[in-house]
């Protein structure tokens, strides 16, 4: 297995790429994809901590966290895409910077 630091660095890069996507993209679906990348980086981190720490700390809570993150990501995607589709129906755009009215 690779050392813990290597995994953490890879995950940090993945997380930063996700942040970049969130900050630069306009399309709501692509922003959602970037958020998913960030979630993946976090759950990979959780699993890495759990696997490397199970001897010293005696539990695998991180793996359970990864499981919960995957479940909640599924719920989040379903809801967010519902919102995107609804917005597109009302405003004919999926770009977040064009949805700029509080009431339409």
């Amino acid at each position: 297995m690779p050392p813990l630091e290597h995994i953490l660095v890879v995950n940090a890069v993945l997380f930063a790429i996700g942040v970049m996507g969130v900050l630069t993209r306009r399309n709501a679906v692509l922003i959602l994809l970037s958020v998913e990348l960030m979630l993946n980086a976090v759950s990979l981190n959780m699993v890495a901590f759990a696997v490397y720490g199970q001897v010293d700390f005696g539990n695998i809570t991180g793996v359970v966290f990864a499981f919960f993150i995957i479940v909640i990501a599924a719920a989040e995607v379903a809801l967010a895409l519902g919102i995107v589709v609804r917005t597109f129906r009302n405003r004919a755009t999926a770009n977040v910077d064009e949805v700029n009215l509080l009431k339409w």
Binding site: V29, Y52, V55
Partner: protein, 172 residues
């Protein structure tokens, strides 16, 4: 580190590079559907790293939930929002600022990782694989209440998604 470079590490780095390149593809691709397809490759890379970390269960759940269900949802959303018919600028005006912020965050994270002394086992070969039994025990004993709450949350989210996506009665 003292183990030297093993085959697992080589595989890890290959997977990591594939994962990161496809992740960059997700945030820079000029075509929305390509971004979604890059996302699949990136998820597959994450699943592979889960396998290296010996949590097969999480890897397979990742493939099952993300790889098929989430990706299909996203492709549906792209089609419903006519990704192909209306080509347009995919990046906002603040793009350089966003890239700078992400790089700054990355520097901070890596600095933090390097500066910290991690409590890890003496040798990585001492790490035991995480068995399915252990995960099941953890979820269904210690974490049973969060598990139930997540179940409720999922069904609420399902209802909400149906409500959001279905047309209003006075709509047409």
């Amino acid at each position: 580190m003292e183990d030297g470079v093993t085959a697992t590490q080589v595989v890890f780095w290959i997977l990591a590079v594939v994962m990161l390149i496809s992740a960059i593809g997700v945030v820079t691709a000029g075509n929305i559907v390509y971004a979604a397809l890059f996302f699949i490759a990136s998820l597959a890379g994450v699943a592979g790293i889960y396998l290296i970390l010996t949590v097969e269960f999480i890897a397979l759940v990742q493939l099952l939930i993300y790889g098929s269900a989430v990706v299909i949802l996203i492709l549906f959303a792209l089609m419903l929002t006519r990704a192909r018919e209306r080509p347009q600028a995919l990046f906002g005006r603040s793009r350089p600022l966003g890239i700078a912020a992400a790089l700054g965050l990355l520097a901070a994270l890596i600095g933090g990782i390097v500066a910290t002394t991690w409590t890890t086992p003496e040798s990585t070969s001492a790490i035991e694989p995480v068995g399915l039994q252990a995960i099941g025990d953890a979820i269904f004993t210690l974490w049973i209440v969060p598990f139930i709450i997540v179940g409720v949350l999922l069904s609420i989210a399902l209802d909400g998604a149906i409500m959001l996506a279905s047309p209003d009665e006075d709509d047409n």
